[in-house]
Symmetry: C2
Subunit: 395 residues, 2 copies
């Protein structure tokens, strides 16, 4: 399930209302000044099947508590707001989430527990419920079968563009996501809703979502942060009548496209960096090395400076304990954009042959010569703009 | 052994030649243009006792290989160069290190294995031996009992000032260190030589150095990087004739001063940040939380922007697994410079009361309410200058 080996064509125009059986809307509730900030997505069936993956952060927001407490219920609707994470807001913040779900459930005439709630934005501030509740009511009146793009816009925070991806064929997958800052392991700071009109059992949906998350959002690591609000929801309507042959593969392709879009729009980044570890003794070993390399501020700053600093790559690989990733440091090879700059742990081809300035994308390949596993992880460089955006913006 | 509870006064004027029985020199060998780049420190006895701590990075430089292969030999002399790390230089680079030790041993008429070698600078380039060897010979002719300050200057890389610290009393401790970039766990990118005229056994020296390293260099984490060359050497001459009562305590105070100086001169930093975790269930639990918080680029950028962003503190604490650091996220308290900005996991005092712009030093206290352990860790903020220095300088 490597990013580089996904050959299924993905259509970035297919949002959450592309599959049959879904309506959505995105409106300006006034949570943020002068822009869309509230989205609703509903599954009109005939099936109501869903699966979800939540942040692994132990410090989680009120909507995550709601999702945990109502876990196991198939989600009929999702309401998502930007402009406030509703995190560290205590019992009152939690009651705001419950109230939001109640309003949606009442309007749609559905069970309370079937309403998923997602929030993103600042930590430590209550949501403006006097604007959110009328907004939720308005959003429900605006639901339509071409509202996907509006919804995708309403969940943006520091994103510079809306993110959608889908596949259309015998059955259709559509999706939307927001990311920007705090893209991290065990999930990016992100909200993602994937819809499909495929016929899926609950177990199939859960299995596919877990697999696809592992090889998409859990293979990007922009700045090592893990948010309090991360949520990925998959909803299946069955409206196509088609039972897919390889749904996990298709879902992974869609979610890899979203993950790639998140990295491509990460706060302040000027390079997207694909770290490919080859010759790892196991997937975990390769991932540990890739993550260690992706966390090096020294390397990330060098890439910003268009410097193929392979010394910082192998120094970082060397911080991974031998019991986690066995390899012989004297055998490591490193390539920057295909130029073999480090050969057997020492100097290889002339690093001046590497031109990092030419493209936004950079590929760093590290061959550990310790096995046959290959792992890919996307990260970003560390730039002045990253420092600026995150020193000026309170989130 | 908390930084904040060390009450032993340390004198920053006491270098490696402050204790009796030591000579040193620092000269310009031409490895770097127009500045001192080579230092030698020798122990004239009567005792020749030493201990050392080396980088835990599996990718290590030629001089580290030398130190490992000759481990167990008491060090009579140390030769240190800046201007080149002699890392990733293969067997030829290793032979350069051996040659360097040979020249020193021959000149001093001492055993080859008693010569310690340290290098710092760029990775992946051979040292200019045609300049280093004559330089080493020159440095030995220049050895004097007040050469400590010259030696401290010769080992600087991107350091903006030389670092020394010592204690004088019945017996004396002196030291020098260099740091600047890559300050990290399991040691900073640093070279450090500590000398003393105390009477110590080899076991006492080793025990004291391990303890002091744990509570000094292993309690600073500037950018999460761990270098290929880190070396701390303690040498004892016994020339005072005094057997100390509590040498580990005194050594820790000296090395904490050096560690604090390294953080205060870290590349591009504008704030030094003391992270104090209180109420931890164990030292490891507290350290895991402190390290997680110290690694948050989001938090570090916020501090650069003088923003007391406690949401980023608790979000980062929440990434530590419960089995490593048990605590209840709804009980966490956070203070920035004594202002109780987060109370019981939620909003506390008004964050606008915190003025981070007033001082370089920032104190973040995190009470986990899960036990009685206290852990302190120093880190830095993430600044434009950090990005600039590390994107422009190849090391």
């Amino acid at each position: 399930m490597l990013f580089s080996r996904t050959t299924i064509p993905v259509d970035l125009g297919l949002g959450v209302t592309a599959p049959r059986g879904f309506r959505a809307s995105g409106i300006a509730a006034g949570i943020k000044p002068d822009r869309k900030d509230l989205a609703v997505v509903i599954n009109d069936g005939p099936d109501v099947v869903s699966a979800e993956v939540l942040t692994q952060n132990r410090v989680f927001a009120a909507p995550i508590r709601w999702m945990k407490e109502t876990a196991g219920t198939a989600r009929k609707a999702v309401i998502l707001n930007s402009g406030g994470a509703n995190a560290s807001t205590g019992e009152k913040g939690y009651q705001d989430t419950v109230k939001t779900a109640q309003v949606v459930a009442a309007k749609l005439g559905t069970e309370l527990e079937s309403v998923a709630v997602c929030s993103t934005g600042m930590i430590g501030e209550r949501l403006p419920m006097e604007r959110l509740i009328p907004g939720a009511e308005l959003a429900i009146t605006k639901l339509s079968d071409d509202g996907g793009a509006d919804a995708a816009h309403a969940i943006m925070t520091t994103d510079t563009r809306a993110k959608q991806a889908g596949i259309a064929g015998e059955y259709t997958i559509g999706s939307m996501a927001k990311g920007a800052g705090m893209l991290a392991p065990g999930m990016a700071t992100m909200l993602c809703v994937v819809t499909t009109d495929a016929v899926l059992t609950e177990a199939e949906a859960r299995h596919a979502l877990e697999l696809a998350t592992t090889y998409s959002f859990n293979r990007i690591d922009s700045d090592g942060a893990m948010s309090t609000n991360d949520t990925v929801i998959l909803m299946a309507s069955g409206a196509s009548g088609v039972t897919p042959k390889d749904f996990p593969r298709d879902l992974t392709a869609v979610m890899q496209s979203l993950a790639r879009q998140l990295i491509g729009d990460a706060e302040g980044a000027s390079h997207d960096v694909l770290i490919r570890v080859l010759g790892a003794s196991s997937e975990n070993a390769g991932l540990a090395v890739a993550r260690a390399v992706s966390r090096s501020n020294l390397l990330k700053a060098a890439i910003f400076g268009n410097d193929p600093n392979w010394g910082r790559v192998i120094a970082q690989a060397g911080t991974v304990p031998a019991e986690v990733a066995p390899f012989d440091p004297d055998k490591i090879d490193v390539w920057f954009n295909g130029i073999h700059v480090c050969r057997a742990g020492g100097v290889g081809e002339d690093r001046s042959r590497v031109d990092l300035a030419a493209n936004r994308d950079v590929t760093i390949e590290i061959d550990l010569h310790a096995g046959t596993e290959i792992v890919e992880l996307w990260t970003n460089d560390l730039t002045h703009d990253y420092v600026h955006e995150n020193s000026a913006y309170s989130s």
